[in-house]
């Protein structure tokens, strides 16, 4: 991987983050109602003096650009995202921090399961194209691909939680429960986690197996596979040593590119199970019109996706020697 490739990717990611911060600033200013009004509550009998005072106190008397913008960027760089309306003035960063853990747990595990299972199913269907697994797998994947995550979740909820009563219907822990030990607590969380995790994994498996199948089929039509066949290498060895490593590359990129959509699924899937992560927080903030928290979520999620894309690009550069420009 040449240093020029590295530099270009870093510069692109940096530029994107700058744009995200800019969008965040503009969106926040485009909000209806002037900030000083919100700060003073919805009291119509505010003297002009008090209004001016409040404006001066919060720097709202200064011009939007550059003063307010510089102050905003400075605050954002120092991790100050403002204060939540709904959580009685708690800093946005603290509100977000409480919710990151559950989301990471759910989506980290979900991605892991989906990548392993999805890529395996996709690789096998591409390899035995037209076979039974391909036929069934492709059909199921297409249907899953057309299904919003929350629908999968609602289906699982109705069948396994309400109908069969195997799993709890909402939350991450049983409310009001005291645990004997960590194992007890882990089991309780595990029970709550099962259905949301299944939702996320099933939703992703459809996407990933479609990607991997296409990639394997593409790779198998390449000349070096024909060459390998002509040399008399066994089928399974061709798949493992020649086809799969090359087919993995585009799949890895596409997984990174798809992350933005995964985030969308994350939010809706969490709402179904009231999983106390960022997705449920988003819905709460939407209902309470808690704009500072919404902005914080947007900033956090977008930057995470940009960073994940950057990592994928760099990994790609390491794996594929052809990427040097």
């Amino acid at each position: 991987m040449g240093s020029r490739y590295l530099l270009r990717k870093l510069a692109q990611a940096f530029l994107t983050v700058v744009l995200i911060v800019l969008v965040n600033f503009v969106l926040f200013r485009a909000m209806p109602g002037s900030p000083e009004r919100i700060l003073l509550g919805r009291n119509p009998h505010v003297s002009a003096e008090a209004l001016a005072q409040t404006k001066a106190r919060w720097g709202l008397d200064k011009p939007l650009f550059p003063d307010q913008f510089v102050a905003y960027v400075d605050a954002t760089l120092h991790g100050d995202l403002g204060f939540s309306y709904a959580y009685r003035g708690k800093p946005v960063t603290a509100v977000l921090a409480d919710r990151v853990g559950p989301t990471l747990l759910l989506f980290g595990l979900g991605e892991l399961i989906a990548i392993i299972v999805g890529l395996a199913i996709g690789a096998y269907s591409g390899w035995r194209r037209g076979g039974f697994v391909d036929y069934v797998g492709n059909g199921v994947s297409l249907v899953l691909y057309s299904m919003p995550y929350f629908l999968i979740g609602m289906g699982l909820l109705v069948v396994f939680a309400t109908g069969l009563g195997w799993f709890p219907t909402y939350g991450m822990m049983t409310p009001g429960m005291t645990y004997k030990d960590t194992l007890d607590q882990t089991l309780d969380i595990g029970g709550h986690l099962a259905l949301p995790l299944a939702t996320v994994s099933i939703g992703l498996i459809g996407q990933y197996s479609i990607l991997m199948r296409a990639s394997v089929i593409e790779t198998l039509s390449d000349d070096y596979i024909t060459t390998a066949r002509a040399k008399g290498i066994r089928d399974i060895a061709i798949l493992r040593r020649h086809a799969l490593p090359n087919a993995m590359l585009p799949a890895v990129t596409l997984i990174a590119v798809n992350l933005g959509y995964v985030v969308a699924g994350a939010i809706t899937a969490e709402k179904v199970f009231s999983w106390p992560g960022l997705g449920t927080l988003t819905v709460e903030a939407l209902e309470a019109r808690d704009f500072p928290v919404l902005q914080g979520i947007f900033l956090l999620l977008s930057i995470s996706v940009v960073v994940a894309n950057l990592i994928a690009d760099l990994v790609y550069g390491l794996l594929d020697p052809r990427v040097r420009t």
């Binding site: 057309s146 929350f150 309400t162 959509y261 985030v263 977008s302």
Partner: protein
């Protein structure tokens, strides 16, 4: 080489015959793709429902005109059961078809229009215009656009005010259209740009330039017709995405209860606790409709892509 000289009338007839042959050829090749035909059949059904919902199930039931009891399971009177205030689920779902499809259609128009304009200008003009537009496109490609739409929708709505209607569509729903359009044009722009780049180099564009056509005219009459196939194939896939995005936004509570889309019905079901009460009949009709419509669009889009996309023509 002496080509026969044609009169204007003959030329017109010739052109018509060519078009007709092209259409027949297209229909034949599309008809050979079974999944595409199935997709079209599903879509025809839902388009009929969307055009005349009242013809099939009567006018939209409200809390006042609700015809049944609370959360009745499917039976002979209410084929698909009722919701928490006694409205017929079949009635809601059929009317939801119109709302979901209209929002999907409008959002697709906005998305494709933005994407085509940006793509053609970027590819045709080139230079720094291209650089700036493509950086912007990359930005929107990387961004989790659903989250952006989620943040934008309440802001735009509070600015415009939620009430009122334009052409029978409530403003709060048009806000969703705008939010989807602004956030999802980027991949269309990419595809159109790359096609524009290759068409720009063709001889007929040079000829137009030589006889003095301006850039605007060349983009309109020479580039646009030649990317149209791609635009159509792409629009079908955009439609599927738009329906999904709308569903997600409404499910999270950004829909309009007065004009319920399928996502909005599912949001209401969630609020009423339908999954916890085991009221599956409240979830299955709108849910199955969403899956069927998105699946149909994906199937048709895939088939169209195979038939229309010049790069794919050689492959199976």
């Amino acid at each position: 080489m002496s080509a026969p000289i044609l009169t204007a009338g003959q030329l017109r007839r010739e052109r018509l015959a060519l078009r007709a042959r092209g259409a027949r050829d297209f229909a034949r090749r599309f008809g050979r793709r079974r999944e595409g035909v199935i997709g079209v059949a599903i879509l025809v059904l839902y388009v009929l429902l969307a055009i005349a919902p009242s013809f099939f199930v009567g006018s939209l039931e409200t809390a006042v005109t609700a015809s049944g009891g609370r959360l009745e399971p499917p039976g002979t009177v209410h084929l698909l059961g009722t919701d928490e205030i006694g409205r017929d689920i079949l009635n809601l779902t059929v009317h939801g078809a119109r709302v979901s499809m209209v929002i999907g259609l409008l959002a697709t128009v906005v998305t494709v229009l933005l994407g085509v304009v940006v793509g053609i200008i970027s590819g045709f003009v080139g230079g720094w215009v291209d650089t700036i537009l493509m950086r912007l496109t990359d930005f929107f490609l990387v961004l989790p656009t659903f989250v952006l739409a989620l943040v934008m929708t309440p802001i735009i709505r509070d600015m415009l005010g939620g009430g009122g209607e334009i052409l029978g569509v409530r403003i709060s729903l048009l806000v969703i259209v705008v939010a989807i359009g602004i956030t999802s044009w980027a991949s269309t722009a990419r595809i159109i740009r790359s096609q524009t780049l290759s068409i720009r180099e063709r001889a007929f564009v040079d000829r137009a330039r030589v006889i003095g056509a301006g850039p605007g005219r060349m983009m309109r009459t020479h580039i646009l017709p030649n990317v149209m196939n791609l635009v159509v194939a792409n629009a079908v896939l955009v439609f599927a995405g738009a329906v999904l995005t709308e569903t997600g936004l409404s499910y999270l509570g950004l829909g309009d209860p007065f004009q319920p889309s399928w996502g909005q019905i599912l949001n209401a079901a969630d609020q009423a606790g339908a999954p916890g009460l085991g009221a599956w009949w409240y979830l299955v009709p709108p849910g199955a409709s969403i899956v069927l419509v998105v699946l149909a669009f994906t199937l048709v889009g895939g088939a169209l892509d195979d038939v229309l996309n010049p790069r794919r023509a050689g492959r199976r």
